[in-house]
Each structure stands twice: as structure tokens, then as C-alpha cells.
């Protein structure tokens, strides 16, 4: 099997509970943020995004909160389900000398216990 996750912080929750995954970003000039979900053996999938002129954005069962003062982003998943088990990455986007750069954080593994 694949040896993964040894370097990742892991959040373990019970099915039905709410999950909160945190991310600290590095660039105060970042103006757009994305949360991605990556299941084992697959590429990252878009979950939700937020612009820097917003503090909160809600999707289906997910909410992203942005605190620009402390450069912190969080992803809240309501009523966590086994299918939510995956690695979650935050990404920040900023203008960098002629290109828009998307930089990914180190990821958090979410384990949902049935």
C-alpha cells in the first residue's frame, strides 16, 4: 500500500460531528483563497473559495472563514460523513510579477470515524 500522511497533521472526528480545519497563509497580499479536497490516488478537487474582501462564505455543508488580521483561513464541515475523509489543502492566490501564483499549504488529513 501507499505510505502517506506521515507528515500531515490529522484531524479525527466522529461521523455526524462538525469538523474545523485550519490553515495559516503566508502572503498578506493574497487576495483569493481556495480549499481543495484530495482523496487517495486522486487529484485535488475544488471545495470552496473566498475573496479577500469577504470574511465568510458558505457552501453546501461547508463554510470558509477568513481572518486577514492574523492570516488565517478555516474550513468548517457540518455533519461530517465518511466520504469527507481526505486530505484538505488551502491555497492562496496573489499577483506575482506578472502572473497569478497559487501556493498550496501543507494539508490536513481528515479521518471520519463511523
Amino acid at each position: 500500500g501507499e505510505s502517506v500522511g506521515l507528515h500531515l497533521p490529522t484531524l479525527s472526528v466522529q461521523e455526524g460531528d462538525n469538523s474545523i480545519i485550519n490553515c495559516a497563509y503566508s502572503n498578506s497580499a493574497s487576495d483569493y483563497f481556495i480549499w481543495y479536497k484530495q482523496e487517495s490516488g486522486k487529484g485535488p478537487q475544488f471545495i470552496i473559495d473566498i475573496r479577500s474582501n469577504m470574511d465568510k462564505r458558505q457552501g453546501q455543508r461547508v463554510t470558509v472563514l477568513l481572518n486577514k488580521t492574523v492570516k488565517h483561513l478555516s474550513l468548517q464541515i457540518a455533519a461530517t460523513q465518511p466520504g469527507d475523509s481526505a486530505v484538505y489543502f488551502c491555497a492562496e492566490n496573489y499577483q506575482d510579477t506578472g502572473r497569478r501564483a497559487l501556493t498550496f499549504g501543507s494539508g490536513t488529513r481528515l479521518q471520519v470515524q463511523p
Binding site: 487576495d31 487529484g43 475544488f46 498550496f104
Partner: protein, 116 residues
């Protein structure tokens, strides 16, 4: 669902071989990217392209090369594979965003490369 494809999904190859990882997207996106990701680690940008005949190196130094002859196709080539190249390679694409700021990238399933 994103229409971006990568082949092969898995590749095991010997040292010194030349390999090309294929990436194609059917969304008409101008921007395409290659990332390298070790198991359990973050994604590192190794190449990107903003359109046909445009290619740039990313944030992580890589011995690979890319080409962009057609909008939909962005292959990555390793002239001489080495064990240090063992990793997962993810291709992504995104539309031009103008001044909107959005840069949502759509990812392919990845190619897991093992060099013996």
C-alpha cells in the same frame, strides 16, 4: 466535473529512460500547470503555461521540460529518469481570469511515477 486527463496513471521505469507524461484538457483553458507532490506533502509548482508557445518554470526546480504546442495539450518530459524523480505529478488547468482575481485550478488524477 473537470475534463482534464493524465496518462499514464502509474508508471514504473528504470533509471536513464526518457519518459513523457501526458496531460490534456477539453475545457479550452489557456492556463495549464504541472505540480509535483510527494506522498502526504504539499503541491509544488514545477511548470506553467499561459497559452500556446508559452512555458515558464515554477517555484520548485525540476529537471523536466514541458511544451505547449496546442491549447489542450501540455506534456511533461524527463530526458533521463532518476530515482529522485519518483513522485506524483499533477496537471491542472484554469481559464484566463483577467482582473477578476479568481484562479481556480482544475486538476487531473495525477501520474504516480516510480523510477527504479
Amino acid at each position: 466535473e473537470a475534463d482534464i486527463y493524465q496518462t499514464p496513471r502509474y508508471l514504473v521505469i528504470g533509471t536513464g529512460k526518457k519518459i513523457t507524461l501526458e496531460c490534456s484538457q477539453t475545457m479550452g483553458h489557456d492556463k495549464m500547470y504541472w505540480y509535483q507532490q510527494d506522498p502526504g506533502m504539499e503541491l509544488h509548482l514545477i511548470h506553467y503555461s499561459y497559452g500556446v508557445n508559452s512555458t515558464e518554470k515554477g517555484d520548485l526546480s525540476s529537471e523536466s521540460t514541458v511544451s505547449r504546442i496546442r491549447t489542450e495539450h501540455f506534456p511533461l518530459t524527463l530526458e533521463s529518469a532518476r530515482p529522485s524523480h519518483t513522485s506524483q505529478y499533477l496537471c491542472a488547468s484554469s481559464p484566463l481570469t483577467g482582473t477578476s482575481g479568481r484562479n481556480e485550478q482544475f486538476f487531473g488524477p495525477g501520474t504516480r511515477l516510480t523510477v527504479l
